[in-house]
Symmetry: C3
Subunit: 284 residues, 3 copies
């Protein structure tokens, strides 16, 4: 029954930062259920936090509050915002950590870094409400210029979890910062040039190619990463041998090494290219 707040930060596991935020939130809403998504985001890696948050948040109950503090520009002029979508609320710095969340509500892919209007280009039925957090009534005062996570984001998330409407926390805004999403490029010969966007604990290489970007799984001829070739897709990690490719649990195509770590084998890194060649369309 209790409200849920999830936490995604780059604060690591050895400091008091995460616990300080939890203490602040429990002081405001003693009934809140705090759930860690991830605290080992690479320091200040906004895009990584955007990816992990997006992969996790959709499995939480509707109306959960998702707190993200990956905030290299804390204390500067970057805004703190609340974003409310039809299924969840987010409390975060306005620096692109919500890019994937926003992207999902849009018809067109986000291709440039910068301010994105929340008023146009939404998918039917989608609404995005954003508020610039300016009302210090909800803050922990005095605010440390180096730790808005504790003094602004955490108390705002806790108050939001108590049911205060977003508009109580500041002024509505019509645009937010987004980072360009990595997208596969279609080539003249019909092949698709994808890119690695995440490397997981197992060394699986998650690409930006979604199932829906491909003509159909059966049509994939070869997958090329570095100097290696993979033949078509398998269904599970236990099929095939050596390097395999499959549709991962987040609906992205991923490259995996059976019984091993693909990232180590290939010395792969975020941004590396993965080429998908498709069988030529047959004449009918």
């Amino acid at each position: 029954m209790g409200a849920i707040i999830t936490l995604t930060t780059d604060f690591g596991l050895k400091d008091a930062y995460v616990a300080s935020m939890k203490g602040v939130m429990l002081s405001i809403n003693p009934e809140v259920n705090l759930v860690d998504i991830c605290h080992t985001i690479e320091p200040q890696n906004i895009l990584q936090s955007a990816f992990v948050l997006n992969a996790a948040y959709r499995f939480f109950p509707k109306k959960s509050v998702h707190l993200v503090v990956v905030d290299p520009d804390v204390g500067s002029e970057r805004r703190a915002i609340i974003l409310r979508t039809p299924i969840a609320s987010f409390v975060a710095p306005d620096n692109g950590v919500l890019s994937y969340i926003i992207q999902q509500s849009l018809i067109q892919p986000v291709t440039r870094k910068g301010k994105l209007s929340l008023r146009g280009g939404l998918k039917p039925g989608e609404t995005l409400e954003a508020v610039h957090i300016t009302n210090s009534r909800f803050w922990r005062l005095p605010v440390s210029p180096t730790f808005h996570g504790r003094d602004i984001f955490a108390p705002v998330a806790a108050a939001l979890s108590l049911g205060f409407p977003p508009i109580e926390f500041g002024e509505p805004v019509t645009s937010v910062e987004v980072l360009p999403m990595s997208r596969p490029g279609k080539r003249p010969d019909g092949s698709l040039m994808g890119h690695i966007i995440h490397i997981d604990t197992f060394g699986n290489l998650i690409t930006d190619v979604r199932n829906e970007d491909l003509p159909s799984a059966e049509k994939i001829d070869k997958i090329k990463i570095g100097s290696r070739h993979i033949s078509g897709l398998v269904r599970t990690y236990s099929e095939g041998s050596g390097l395999i490719a499959l549709i991962g649990s987040g609906d992205f195509i991923e490259i995996s090494l059976k019984g091993g770590n693909a990232a180590l084998l290939l010395d792969a890194k975020i941004g590396d290219e993965v080429l998908f060649t498709v069988q030529p369309e047959e004449e009918e």
Copy 2:
């Protein structure tokens, strides 16, 4: 008052996998109390997860549900099972992760990998009920072939925590997969050849020799690991000097380095031998 579900996985700390499972469980049972046992099991190390789970679960309240997802063969023909013992329920792939739990209920040690009947060889008063999870009514559909943790195990554990009886989730089975448990070997001269079965955060080397395997603590003469000798057992980490041996908190004999890390000093690894020589029985 709320039901408890514990989580043991090899999903690591940097991905969205654990949080996704938690979101799914909280969506089904908002009152459930989720407690992490461990998420840093070595990738696909079934025996390590079996050890850690067994070391922790017995301290939880009776009727807790213990979810284990170390599942290298996800999507293959390996079964998903519920195991219910007199004190707890487990939801796990049927791949041996419950080997220690099952072993504890048996009179005879498990010595071979493979299917073990749950109908014979139980200690008096023990009952083990197992169900093959086949009823998709409780699953998150469509099931990702690569993430049964999120789409089968988590929702089943959540439903189990709501009180549904195991039989609602599938068909009863009479045998489950077990891995052979490492056991010390008794030698003709009365000495005992043990093996390292776990290395903890402090570098302590936990062996497969239990207190009960030894004639009596006083009778232990020398302990030999690699080329090093240790004289008898001490009671606590702060007694003796250099390498010491003592009865650990899980009732296994362990080797420790006072004020240091025994694993680093000895370059020890799982499976390494530790020889316990006992004093000859005195004639009376």
Copy 3:
């Protein structure tokens, strides 16, 4: 509404130790809200745990119970204690892990390791009540000589969270162990020699110099660490360039590398000196 127990240990993330303690506490107080502060304290680093605990605990609701198990001398004659301050209760080995907590209640800095009387030198309005935990009624029996965390500290913390007064757990004591707190030294020329007391996840170097130790932020002329010089303080991590110094969220002055890791750049370690020179007082 539920009572809160926080946990600070050096048990790491790969073993069953933390979960065992949680299971024990939930068995005693099923309603308790368990919140991790940190489990990656360097093995047996009492001062580090004292620092992290102190940085976090004050943000939790009043009357929270804070459990600390960094306990190199477990099983020896070191005492287990409960310390109650006006805002919180602590359950810990009496080995100095509460040094910062106690220091905050005192007028004079703690300069020597050893027993400190809790009856004198307190700030006005402060009271510290300490109890030597001797009443085995609340323990898990038999107590493992190597894991008091599970068998003494955890059940005592759980019982304390149920409302039992500290005196039920043992005999009052009037002195507890403290470690000397690192303190900056004032030099004849008015400059201040500080020391690094913590290095955080981002590589920020937290010194023992508090805002209040300095004449005023404007008066700081130069900060010298190793062979590097920093000019004055900035307000946030996003100001200045290269090495910067600022007042951190715990009110200590810290050294940071803009967009990087100061600890790696400087090969810094706990105890390293940081010199603060101040502008000469102007004649008026």
